[in-house]
């Protein structure tokens, strides 16, 4: 079984760009499951339905859940592991002897679910950069926090390996594949279409840089 776990940030980027339609055909092409945790569903739907400005997007996401494109994973083991992950993550950096809170329950729940899926063919789809940095380059996150706060921050480097196992994609990689497999078609040459798509994602919150977009155009 293959699986992708979606954090709220990646679904939000797709929704704000009217690209949620790619998920169903992408899932068919993937041949596995697309999951969201209960905590992410709460952020994407329950909370957003209360806000008129994002109510339509929340309903469109709800439709994806109702029709089974996105499946909700909820169980007590995931919740318990989420707490453990939060505790490790939020004690990886310390200021004045206290742990710095860097991630929240929704993000931690994605890492938790990842741990419980019995397959090697899995990834978390996440557009926000902090959790990705914690997993892929915690030393970069440490440098960034020190640089931005203009002070030394203690890093508990023994925690770093805990996050190394998580594989992360962003909405940008999914949209890239959606374009390359014909799920998205645009009336312009390939490099310009990739440019248009990835910049649209970037401007709605996907943490992808100008340099990365330039590189992706030429792949």
């Amino acid at each position: 079984m293959k699986a992708l776990i979606f954090d709220s940030s990646s679904i939000i980027t797709l929704a704000l760009n009217d690209l949620l339609f790619i998920l169903k055909p992408l899932k068919n092409a993937f041949g596995g499951e697309f999951y969201v945790t209960d905590s992410v569903k709460h952020e994407l739907i329950d909370r957003s339905l209360q806000i008129k400005r994002f109510k339509l997007e929340a309903l469109m996401i709800k439709k994806l859940i109702d029709e089974g494109t996105l499946k909700i994973k909820k169980d007590s083991k995931i919740e318990k592991e989420t707490k453990t992950i939060l505790s490790v993550a939020n004690n990886t950096f310390e200021v004045d002897g206290e742990g710095m809170k860097v991630i929240h329950e929704g993000e931690a729940s994605c890492l938790s679910l990842y741990n419980f899926l019995p397959t090697e063919k899995k990834a978390i789809v996440m557009d926000e950069r902090t959790t990705r940095m914690l997993c892929e380059a915690p030393e970069n996150l440490h440098k960034l926090i020190e640089k931005k706060n203009h002070r030394k921050i203690k890093a508990n480097k023994l925690n770093y390996p805990f996050f190394k196992r998580f594989k992360i994609l962003r909405s940008s990689e999914l949209v890239y594949l959606a374009y390359k497999t014909g799920i998205i078609s645009l009336p312009i040459k390939s490099s310009e279409a990739i440019d248009a798509l990835l910049y649209a994602l970037k401007y709605k919150g996907c943490a992808i840089s100008h340099d990365e977009i330039n590189e992706a155009k030429n792949l």
């Binding site: 990834a123 959790t131 840089s209 992706a216």
Partner: protein, 193 residues
């Protein structure tokens, strides 16, 4: 331990409030903006409600005094007098370690905005909402995750995503944790394309 109980942080906040008081009197927009920028480090490091409230309030005040058009509204003089007094009260109470009264005074600034009427009320409330989103984006920039930041500032991840997309946060070199070619290849492998 809250930031108000940390001696260095308290000194920093007192200094910020004294400067804000001065800036309100002289309508010194540059000084108040400078003070607003100084609040974000504490909010980012400690994430306690006091540091976040201070950061949002001072940023909102900087925007409020910047916009001269508000002065034409009938309720402006009494609103401005009240918020100036609130800063004074907050300052005096923090000096005396009366934290509850300090928080009440800061809270009264928001309350004053909610008690306005007509267009001025809408404008000022919008300034506070935008101040929350702006400060949230600064916290995200400082290495706090999107959801953690949104929860702390009581805004939605949607609002934050839209705002940070317009900033250069994702262009910071340290954010690039894997070459995009490698990530795309990993995606292709997963999808067996």
């Amino acid at each position: 331990m809250g930031i108000l109980e940390k001696e260095d942080e308290k000194k920093n906040i007192l200094d910020i409030l004294r400067n804000v008081k001065k800036a309100l009197k002289t309508e010194d927009i540059i000084l108040i903006k400078e003070m607003s920028n100084r609040t974000i480090h504490s909010a980012s490091l400690y994430k306690d409600p006091d540091s976040v409230a201070i950061a949002v309030t001072i940023y909102a005040l900087s925007k409020i005094i910047e916009r001269k058009k508000y002065e034409q509204y009938r309720e402006w003089p009494s609103f401005f007098t009240r918020i100036t007094k609130d800063i004074d009260t907050a300052l005096i109470n923090l000096e005396k370690n009366q934290f509850k009264e300090f928080r009440d005074a800061l809270h009264d600034i928001r309350k004053a905005a909610n008690q306005l009427s007509g267009h001025l009320k809408i404008y000022i409330q919008e300034v506070f909402r935008k101040a929350s989103i702006n400060k949230a984006s600064r916290l995200y920039e400082h290495g706090v995750s999107m959801e953690e930041t949104a929860a702390l500032l009581d805004i939605t991840t949607w609002e934050l995503a839209e705002y940070v997309g317009m900033t250069g946060i994702s262009d910071v070199d340290l954010s690039i944790t894997m070459p995009i070619k490698e990530r795309i290849n990993f995606a292709k492998k997963l999808f067996e394309i």
